[in-house]
Symmetry: C3
Subunit: 365 residues, 3 copies
């Protein structure tokens, strides 16, 4: 929900967002909504021509848009060269101060039920909610919020102004940077999945590394990040990880890379900077992906990617009846290729053109 | 485990289930089991002809079955036109009162270690277990059970007779309907994954919507449901969600739809009513699926589905040696198609039949 | 992090690992690292010829390796026929006593904030951390560690020397064997996903079974294991399950099988012994996989596997532009096959060889 008690004049909104505006500076704005649903006291934004007719009909108090669209807007405007970024910044102005306010109501500062080891260091203006457990030698820097029922393991540190939602678990020796946002259910620093096979028995390899997470990292609900086997698992500055993502031991993720929900990165793989890994992608172990790679939804990355670009796997969706026929043929593609090759050879023998010369072997792509 | 202290006479069982029966009404039934494993004091059921020989040999106290199968059953019967539904109802009669009983033993009503904000509203006959945190302005309606170490965020509400298992986290502004069942590890209301790109930096978009969940919804262990960006994420009445499912922001799921384990629904997509989404399915963002659609296991839904029916993707399983050959050919399918087209053209030139006329272009399916 | 206070002489290390060595028995070893990063007081290991040049240049205090590689090592050696297993064993010697030490610092034995039902049985030398909830009739055997904020449901038991990390939830009637390791966020014993359809309504089937887990089982962070519908879900001795894995009701997993991250096993399926299920694999319901099967990453197992071996599905990764063309052809494979068949038939009519006789029907693989 939006905090409807937060309202701004159009003029002060323009100031806060660093934008110019057209319209009455006293117009009151008390919320944010889409073009079609905004009421007369709500701000909206226009960044995609799909919504052009919504723009023409909007009743919003004001609209954030690019200067060239201003003429088509029936209401006051805030001008931005990147209206979507301006919308992102505006959204922060209408956000309730959720956890802070909550904790203040239950208990200021550190809740009486929190268990905090005497050797832990707690910075100024830190809020620690009910039933939080802070183990020995932990350092929580100033301005952090630790949500209810979270556990911060021995020797871990949380950088300043980080927000840890309720029910988060940090194992020992996890270093989280500044302004981190860790959602509920996240587990960081659990053992990497490492065993050495002794006959049929799996002998556990102790995971002696930690996890090192940069600044401005957000990690979505229920995601898991394993500690390294010998060295640290490393998540770069500005990385954004969605819900239910698994990051295995020794993985390294470059700055500002985005990983969407339910993706899995297997052990010792490295992902470059500014990559976009869509949802439900699987990345196998011991591979390297360079900077600026996009992988589309549900693809399996089964080899290293050495050139930036966009990559995919899968078959796309079909009607199941057709699909059942097609997968039979998929499993016989090698045979089908041989059949075509055989005809091509005979075709050539029949005196047909050189066109067939180079295409006889499907393996030479 | 079943509660073996719960036993019923055949006659009272028939009454409770609204069924007719054949056999001694005093026969004592004290548990539920499969046809082959049921002992002489246990109830069983028959709904699938695969188990016909088990039916003929069963030693059960009684069997729920359809009238036309009664003649083949060697033991007393309970007659139902839908024996599987009757079994479902019977199963509830042998269930231990798990959480209620547990809480009663530890502490009646509200456990002394629970942190409940003074502004929260707690209905009658509510059970709140150890270390539960209930934030400001929360409303828990009558008959609810809140399991140990769960957190209910500011302003959220839980409809009457809902069961929240231990270690569940509801963020602020989550509205759960009546008779909801939320399993451990579930997180509802975490931020949607929304960023606006400013150069390489990802600017966070505050997620100002909430989550609205209908009545009779069950959500499996470890699943995550994000709050909406501007409006609510909406889960319809009677929806059943299995374990480790991810529902992104602004998703809308129609009534009675079933989503199996490890599936992911990306942002702003809409799923109709009475759909069945099998396990590990990926549904991309901003698409629409109509009512009564089935998607088979591990399919990628990469476009909207506008007609009811069953849909699939993937290749089916192969021996890995064959598979490695076939995926090479998959990645050359466009070339293979061109090779076939070329032969078809020459074939036609050789004076061959019109059959080749319409099949030359694989793109015109 | 490694516990750098733990150091051993080369001679005592050889004793502890049961290995012979070459070098000064007094050499002090105080940590474990890769060949290339090991400093002069750290142990390393060599088991893969990929790292041969690292071996030749290593500065490690000593290297675990096989006797035939000893001549190429510039530093003292520990000789093992299986150096990787010896490394696994050595890694345990440098592990900090994380949870034990932590609990000792906060509170010896049972933390004052733990809620333990009077009917629970707690063995000797058990450590129970803050906010743990132990319900009625639970049995925790000697030597167990139960991490902060974990919940152990009514009637469950935890075998001796098991380690349950913080924020774990065991429902009632879960039996965990000895030396189990359960990572944070794990949920065991949640309801199986079982409904009987009554018109459009889904009638819940009470899940009356439990979960039975053998000895020496490790379960990774955030994984979920459902209780059985009528009988138990069964996880065999020595099974290792990675993070975010879903095990549905009535599944049976054989001894020493390994299941990697984000895989899902649907209801009532059986996996044999000594199998390796790679990451993000989906296994549908009601199938059987025999012993010693390997399934590669992100495969869909959509049928039973009756012979040991390695199995795969999927298409492998492509450049997205090519991929888009290829998936069109995938969805027309049945048509392509018909086109090839048609040509083959005409080819034969043209007086071409018998080779075409048997290949006309792609369905006869």
């Amino acid at each position: 929900m939006q905090d409807r008690n937060k309202s701004y004049s159009l003029g002060s909104l323009a100031d806060l967002l660093g934008l110019t505006f057209e319209g009455n500076p006293e117009t009151l704005v008390s919320g944010l909504a889409t073009l079609s649903s905004a009421s007369e006291d709500q701000l909206s934004f226009y960044h995609n021509t799909l919504y052009f007719s919504d723009l023409q009909k909007t009743r919003a108090a004001a609209v954030i848009l690019s200067p060239d669209a201003a003429a088509d807007c029936p209401v006051p405007v805030l001008l931005s060269d990147n209206p979507y970024v301006a919308y992102a910044k505006a959204s922060r102005l209408f956000e309730p101060d959720r956890l802070v306010e909550t904790n203040r109501e239950i208990s200021t500062g550190i809740h009486s039920s929190a268990s905090i080891d005497a050797s832990a260091t707690i910075g100024k203006e830190v809020s620690i909610a009910a039933n939080v457990v802070i183990e020995a030698k932990v350092c929580i820097e100033e301005g952090c919020i630790i949500g209810a029922n979270s556990v911060i393991g021995r020797g871990s540190s949380v950088g300043k102004d980080s927000l840890i939602y309720p029910s988060v678990t940090l194992y020992p020796d996890v270093q989280l940077g500044e302004r981190g946002i860790i959602h509920s259910g996240v587990v960081i620093g659990s053992d990497g999945f490492g065993f050495a096979k002794d006959g049929q028995l799996q002998v556990k390899i102790a995971q002696l590394g930690g996890v090192l997470i940069g600044d401005d990292v957000e990690i979505g609900a229920g995601s898991t990040i394993d500690r390294g086997a010998l060295e640290d698992t490393v998540i770069g500055h500005g990385v954004k990880i969605d819900n239910l993502v698994q990051i295995a031991h020794n993985v390294r993720i470059g700055e500002n890379t985005v990983i969407c929900g339910c993706s899995a990165v297997a052990g010792s793989s490295t992902i470059g900077k500014n990559c976009i890994i869509a949802g439900a992608v699987g990345i196998i172990n011991h591979i390297t992906i360079v900077d600026e790679v996009t992988v589309t939804a549900m693809s399996l990355v089964n080899k290293s990617i050495s050139e930036k670009g966009t990559y995919s796997s899968g078959t796309g969706l079909s009607d199941t009846t057709k699909w059942k026929k097609n997968i039979v043929h998929f499993r016989q593609l090698d045979t089908l290729n041989d059949r075509v090759k055989l005809m091509e050879r005979h075709f050539k023998n029949l005196g047909n053109p050189k066109e067939f010369d180079k295409k006889g072997d499907a393996k030479s792509e």
